[in-house]
């Protein structure tokens, strides 16, 4: 049989790449009921963590909670396999509290692999895909029909999700030495970029990097600061009930002038500086040599030594990403307290790779010009496991919605960090690997990690990704919260010696007018547990009417939700108002076939940008740089005009 004619299988959805985006995309599509193929370069490297061992942190932890609320896997998987948990930003407001965990990398991979392999409707195969199969579709769009494997066979499908990470024309750089390859000594995918170009896809070249791994037995721990995990066990997933976990510490140490001198003296050998690296790297994750150049006045830079797992001596040197030649890497590491005798087990390296310009995508992550072709993850120009996974689940859901002929799921900026992430990517594009940050979210107080389920689980249920067990748990939690809030509002305390005694015992201070428990919960430091104590004392003293309702018993999470809702009510209401104002523009959808040449009075720059980005709504149009408020008004009027015209035609 000649090459390219053997059809080895037919699927609804094929996912190319089994990293963090690919796994979520494949699991989502399969769980919704689509026959799905997950294609990986290596069965041994599913859900590989080629960079740091950590999951979560500010904004990233929020993404994990959100994708969990939708029915994704990353949170569950991290809860099962992480060996240190810390809640960050606890000194700040609840909106920026962020859970960060250290994974046992291998355990994380194997657990995810096991889940994928055992999910109904999902096949996992080690194949390297070289080409996309397309055919012409209506309105000058193309549509996908399948993929070609390097060994010649074909898999057909109606939807394809590309989640190719850093593998497209991957190139590894260590000092003067470069070679083609993926992360951690893997193969690169060298042909697929060409196939994308032929399909009319615009590519960009990005760069990222990773530090060396050193042998845990060769470190001097006395010279470093211990960074233990939290004592209280926490979980990413709303479905996890893990309450105890053995915690493994990290270690903190610092660079010094000797480190910096070695780096400065060898700057002419830095691939970043001497032109070997051409790709654009991220600002938030700069190589140590870049830090030295950009912040010459900084006397020291901190680094963390993080265990890569329970069954390895490899320690990740967080903060020391580098692509310096080996002699320089070893020399500068040895200047650092605690690392004087460190044995390097793996070198730090930089990797360059092809990714797509994400403004070619719709908010569903489907290519505007290729029906059925989706893209998610690092190949969309992002960085980070969490960002990748968040896109993966959305691409998987929307591929499934396309197969089923149902409404796609697009999250608003006011609904989740996932919405912010994807809206930023498809509206503004990115000029460097994009990292999620809380400061990118304009409605941060609404997008808390504690209420991710309230925001997104109903949407996950709608698309068929939220299991009955999760749905039941969710609805009962919401009901408890509603009951508690209702009861707090219904219980009024009348000033009197006994009432004030109870209040003083809770540390709340006297009342002088009739006050609801709800209002008392606004006082600084007020907790639901104390509200119950006050109420019990008042009832024991018989100073509340017998008809007053019961205060339901709540779990810690439920109580926290109640406390936040009351304490920050004013701020939350203010943000909701802002959302409402924005929503009116978001709900004005622009027709997919709108011809901006036909819209009078637009400025030329706006016309060009709009035609290029093709925003989904007037609200999105307004966020495109180069589109002014006046252009937005013009669009609104134009839409109204069209509506009336079509009404008149009927």
């Amino acid at each position: 049989m000649p090459t390219g004619t053997f059809v080895a299988g037919d699927y609804d959805v094929i996912v190319i790449g089994a990293g963090h985006a690919g796994c979520e995309a494949a699991l989502a599509a399969a769980r919704i009921g689509c026959r799905t193929l997950l294609a990986t370069l290596s069965m041994d490297n599913i859900a590989l963590m080629p960079c740091n061992p950590s999951v979560g942190g500010p904004a990233k932890g929020h993404l994990v909670r959100e994708l969990d609320a939708l029915g994704g896997e990353m949170g569950v998987n991290a809860d099962k396999t992480c060996i240190q948990f810390r809640m960050l930003n606890t000194g700040k407001g609840p909106a920026v509290h962020a859970l960060r965990a250290q994974a046992d990398k291998k355990l994380y991979q194997f657990t995810m692999k096991e889940t994928c392999e055992n999910t109904p409707n999902l096949d996992v195969k080690q194949i390297l895909i070289t080409d996309l199969l397309l055919e012409d579709s209506a309105e000058s769009r193309k549509k996908v029909t399948g993929v070609v494997v390097e060994t010649g066979e074909i898999y057909t499908a109606r939807a394809i999700v590309m989640a190719t990470g850093t593998y497209l024309r991957g190139r590894i750089i260590i000092g003067e030495h470069t070679y083609t390859g993926g992360p951690n000594g893997q193969r690169a995918a060298m042909s697929f970029s060409q196939s994308l170009k032929e399909a009319g896809v615009r590519l960009m070249r990005f760069k990222t990097g990773t530090p060396a791994r050193v042998d845990a037995r060769t470190l001097d721990y006395d010279k470093m600061e211990l960074q233990p995990g939290d004592t209280e066990a926490r979980n990413f997933s709303f479905m996890s009930d893990i309450t105890t976990r053995e915690q493994h510490p990290c270690y903190l140490t610092y660079t010094n002038e000797a480190t910096h001198k070695i780096l400065r003296d060898n700057m002419d050998r830095a691939p970043m500086a001497n032109g070997i690296i051409e790709g654009v790297g991220p600002r938030y994750c700069p190589a140590i040599e870049t830090k030295i150049l950009r912040f010459p006045d900084k006397k020291r830079h901190q680094l963390f030594l993080e265990p890569e797992g329970l069954h390895t001596n490899e320690m990740y040197v967080q903060g020391m990403s580098t692509s310096m030649p080996m002699d320089v890497q070893i020399a500068f590491l040895h200047t650092i307290p605690g690392l004087e005798h460190a044995h390097v087990m793996r070198a730090g390296y930089a990797i360059e790779y092809d990714c797509i310009d994400p403004t070619q995508l719709k908010a569903t992550l489907e290519f505007k010009n290729i029906r059925g072709f989706f893209s998610a993850g690092q190949s969309n120009g992002t960085s980070g496991y969490e960002e990748a996974a968040a896109q993966g689940i959305m691409a998987g859901i929307n591929a499934a919605m396309l197969i089923k002929g149902e409404e796609p799921l697009v999250l608003k900026r006011s609904e989740g960090y996932i919405g912010v992430l994807i809206d930023d990517l498809v509206t503004k594009g990115t000029h460097e690997p994009y990292r999620m940050m809380t400061s990118r979210a304009e409605y941060r107080l609404l997008l808390r990690q504690d209420n991710a389920d309230a925001r997104l689980t109903p949407l996950g249920r709608r698309v068929g990704l939220v299991s009955d067990a999760r749905w039941q748990r969710f609805t009962s939690k919401q009901q408890h919260i509603r009951e508690a809030l209702g009861a707090l509002q219904a219980i009024t305390l009348t000033p009197g010696e006994k009432v004030n005694e109870a209040l003083r015992a809770a540390g709340w201070g006297d009342i002088h007018t009739v006050t609801t428990l709800y209002d008392l919960m606004r006082r600084p430091g007020a907790t639901y547990v104390r509200a119950i104590a006050v109420y019990d004392a008042c009832r024991a003293a018989a100073v509340v009417p017998e008809t007053s309702p019961e205060l339901p018993l709540l779990t810690g999470e439920e109580a926290e939700e109640v406390e936040i809702t009351i304490r920050y009510e004013g701020y939350i209401a203010k943000q909701r108002e802002q959302v409402e104002r924005m929503e009116r523009l978001e709900s004005q959808l622009l027709p997919e076939d709108i011809d901006y040449a036909d819209v009078p009075s637009l400025r030329d720059e706006a016309r060009e940008k709009l035609a290029d980005i093709r925003p989904r709504s007037v609200g999105q149009a307004g966020r495109i740089s180069g589109v002014s408020p006046a252009d937005v008004s013009v669009l609104l009027v134009y839409l109204e005009q069209q509506r009336r015209q079509s009404k008149g035609d009927e």
Binding site: P286, H301, T438, R444, R584, P629, A630, V634, V637, Q645
Partner: protein, 475 residues
Amino acid sequence: MQQGDTIAAIATPPGEGGIGIVRLSGRTALEVAERVFCAASGRELASYDNYRAVYGHIVTEAGETIDEALALIMRAPHSYTCEDVVELQCHGGPMPLRRTLGLCLAAGARMAESGEFTKRAFLNGRLDLAQAASVMDVISARTNRALRLASGHLAGHFSERIRGLRGRLLEQISHIEATIDFPEDGVEDVVEDELRQTLAAVRQEIAAMLATAHTGRILREGLETAIIGRPNVGKSSLLNALLREERAIVTDIPGTTRDAIAEYADVSGVPLHIIDTAGIRETDDVVERLGVERSRAAAEQAALVLALFDGSSPLTAEDSTIMELAARAGQNVILLLTKADLPAVTTPDDLRRALADTVQMDDAADGASAPAIIRISTAADTGLDELAAAIKDIAYTGAAEGAEDYFVSDERQAAILRAADRELAAAEDTLVQGIGLDFVSIDIRSGWESLGELIGETIGDDIIDDIFSRFCIGK
């Protein structure tokens, strides 16, 4: 039908017509109106039916009556915007109108953005097809005009000032944000004392700018201007020439007002409130004695005196009286030699000497700088640009006490500054309550964004760019 937050604006063009309308639209339009309007019947506005015009007064919180007014109530969806709308029709000219608007803003309305009423009307499906097409042109035209205005005389210093304030706020925001987004990257802690100081300093500067909104009310409420001169010197022609620039002439509509209405001219962006225009017209041809008397009264009231002398004839005794009025007044004076198209008989030097004599005689030489002397001809259209420039000089430098190099020139700017100040006050308050720097950051960011509206700077990735340029962050 959705109702937005409540917006307010003056719905009639400045200086046009004897009635001015402040329009409110949105969810709380009635509540806001209730707080600034007192029906003569003593009843609440809410108790009236749709489309009823209710007679009453605009009253401040302190009980001061600003104006006599009619309130017209149009409930959703039976209004222009399809929202609850209240129109307050005022009678008393530009100043009470602006104060009425100010009261509405203080009572919870927000200053409408340019074209926002129309935009809401569209969003709620109010306008028909033909209207829609024409409004699109208006929107783009309006924007161009706004752009022109923004790049005008005020833009330079004012924007620089605002940019400075925003820069200081941005520094604080990105520091806080860096500590939030990169808690493990060794970003040094935000020093709350420094933050407090920055907030206080910025608020102080905003207050100073807002103060120019009062002391420099020239720009908002007009420069009280007297046009004086003996009969036939050309007062009436000058008045007409000044008013022509504005195109709109305020007329006294019978039955709508009690007092004589001043004429209101816009000279290169400086509003002139010209005193006793009726007197100018009458005295320019007839009763002589009355003419001087009226000039005297006008000059006493004025902040700017335009003293006219006939350049085509010798100075007379009456001119000396006029010169005395000009010299004595101690305000800003511009001496005008009219009829410059005719052969010159009186020269600028003659005027200077006459002025010097008068000042000596008066013994009132207090070192004030010499007034500008300009030759004009309304017939040949010469000298008017020079006059406009001289008026601008006075408005923007000399006259406005307390103003430095910037002015808060309209109610919109003042409203935005007040909003920014409120946000920063909230930030201070949040800081005191100690509920978390991320909340403080949100408040400061709102203030920073408000200030951005003043200079048309859009919200972008500034904060994130600033974080990365200032803090060394990375794994």
